[in-house]
């Protein structure tokens, strides 16, 4: 991830097969994390990430500003993730979903079962809460808290103004804080939950 984007793109333009792999990995990593934060489903996230990575690989030679490579990948990842979410909405309206089998929380072999359970409870509670937010607010929160992007970078990735990005994050976090379950969890020391 730390590889200089200009060097990577230059190698890719020279048809370096290793560079192609590294660019695919870079695009997939960004896109997977975005779609995982939005969809909470590794399989669906992989779908959106594949589409993103394919577009990145096909269009990367046209990138004019190598230093904006990651921002460009973020834009593509946001677009494909949102597209998949819209598709999922229309599909679930007329398909009968498979009844989920109860998840079994197995203790880890390294002896940290409680840590793992806590984290998964935490993630599950947040996922439920985020699911109640509008998709754009969720996306802004994912870009902020999964990728640690600035408000300006989020605006660029989502194709909106920085002020709008700030408003989405502000409203999203405010909405989450009003939810009792999250407020309760957030007042515990996060360090103790890891």
């Amino acid at each position: 991830m730390n590889e200089d984007p200009a060097t990577l793109l230059e190698a890719y333009r020279q048809d370096d097969s290793a560079a192609r792999q590294r660019l695919a990995e870079r695009a997939l990593r960004i896109a997977l994390r975005t779609s995982m934060g939005m969809l909470h489903d590794r399989e669906l996230a992989s779908d959106a990430a594949q589409d993103s990575a394919i577009e990145v690989l096909r269009s990367a030679k046209t990138v004019r500003e190598p230093n904006h490579l990651d921002a460009w990948i973020h834009r593509i990842a946001v677009r494909h993730t949102m597209r998949l979410i819209r598709r999922q909405r229309s599909r679930t309206a007329h398909e009968t979903p498979l009844a989920d089998l109860p998840e079994v929380l197995e203790p880890r072999a390294d002896g940290s079962p409680h840590d793992e359970v806590s984290r998964r409870e935490l993630a599950s509670t947040l996922n439920d809460a985020m699911g109640l937010l509008p998709a754009k607010q969720r996306m802004a929160l994912v870009l902020r808290y999964v990728h640690d992007l600035s408000h300006e970078q989020i605006a660029e990735a989502m194709g909106i103004r920085p002020g709008t990005a700030s408003a989405l994050i502000s409203r999203g976090t405010a909405a989450l804080r009003t939810m009792d379950a999250l407020e309760h969890l957030a007042h515990d020391d996060p360090g103790e939950q890891r």
Binding site: L28, R42, D47, Q50, A123, V142, T173, P190
Partner: protein
């Protein structure tokens, strides 16, 4: 730490899985290959269809398959398909004389001479046979379960996905793992189990089916099936299977 910072930290901690997700080598390879070709998009995965059979779930995994192999996949079960749809003999190895009696409870009272071992791991077998009383083709999963279906049902199932999974089933072994059974299209030679802890386990040399012992402690997430060149033919979500079996 301010209340604001504390909430930020809380959100980052709760999104830990998304923050640390990494692409697999298969995903990278698939993207690189798809980007080169004229038809890059993978068809959408469809959700698993669960079919309860007796006391266990036989689950049909529907796969992500690349368009150019779709036609081959739907017709790709070859001799296994021929057997299950009553058009040929079973593939695999005939059960050695004397082993059939007692090996499978379902063989009792029926003609076991047509039983054929499709796959075997650590003594646990996936066996294809025909029930003499009904004429239906059957698959026996270890020594604990068997499914017999009319030809039309097998045809429908085999068309649905290049990999059909059954289990997990409580085949005991020294590592307390659970057996996962599968039948596969002809072009699948390797399957890989991906675990939540980032590790994988490959099973090579597959022909028509497999028996894999899965470690539930490591949180199995997906099973991928590959052709001899390493290309991913199918990806099945196995995260939501009941990885704990109560006898």
């Amino acid at each position: 730490m301010s209340d604001h910072d504390r909430f930020d930290e809380f959100l980052r901690s709760a999104l830990h899985d998304a923050r640390t997700t990494e692409p697999t080598q298969d995903e990278i390879t698939t993207a690189v290959r798809a980007a080169r070709g004229p038809a890059p998009r993978r068809p959408r995965g469809r959700r698993l269809v669960a079919v309860l059979a007796g006391s266990f779930a036989l689950v049909t995994g529907t796969a992500f398959a690349v368009p150019q192999t779709r036609h081959a996949l739907t017709n790709g079960f070859g001799t296994l398909k021929d057997f299950l749809t009553n058009q040929g003999d079973p593939p695999g190895t005939p059960i050695p004389p004397g082993e059939a009696d007692g090996q499978l409870n379902w063989f009792r009272g029926t003609d076991t001479t047509n039983g054929s071992i499709i796959a075997e791991t650590q003594g646990t077998r996936l066996v294809a046979y025909r029930q003499t009383t009904t004429g239906m083709a059957c698959l026996a999963y270890g020594t604990v379960a068997s499914v017999c279906r009319p030809d039309s049902e097998w045809t429908t199932l085999l068309r649905a996905s290049p990999v059909q999974l059954a289990g997990p089933l409580p085949e005991s072994n020294p590592m307390a793992r659970l057996a996962l059974f599968g039948t596969t299209a002809d072009n699948i030679s390797t399957v890989t189990i991906h675990y939540g802890d980032g590790t994988t386990e490959h099973t090579d040399g597959i022909a028509h089916g497999f028996v894999i012992f899965v470690d539930p402690q490591r949180r199995p997430t997906t099973l991928t099936a590959h052709d001899p060149s390493g290309f991913t033919i199918a990806t099945l979500n196995i995260a939501h299977r009941q990885w704990k079996f109560h006898r």
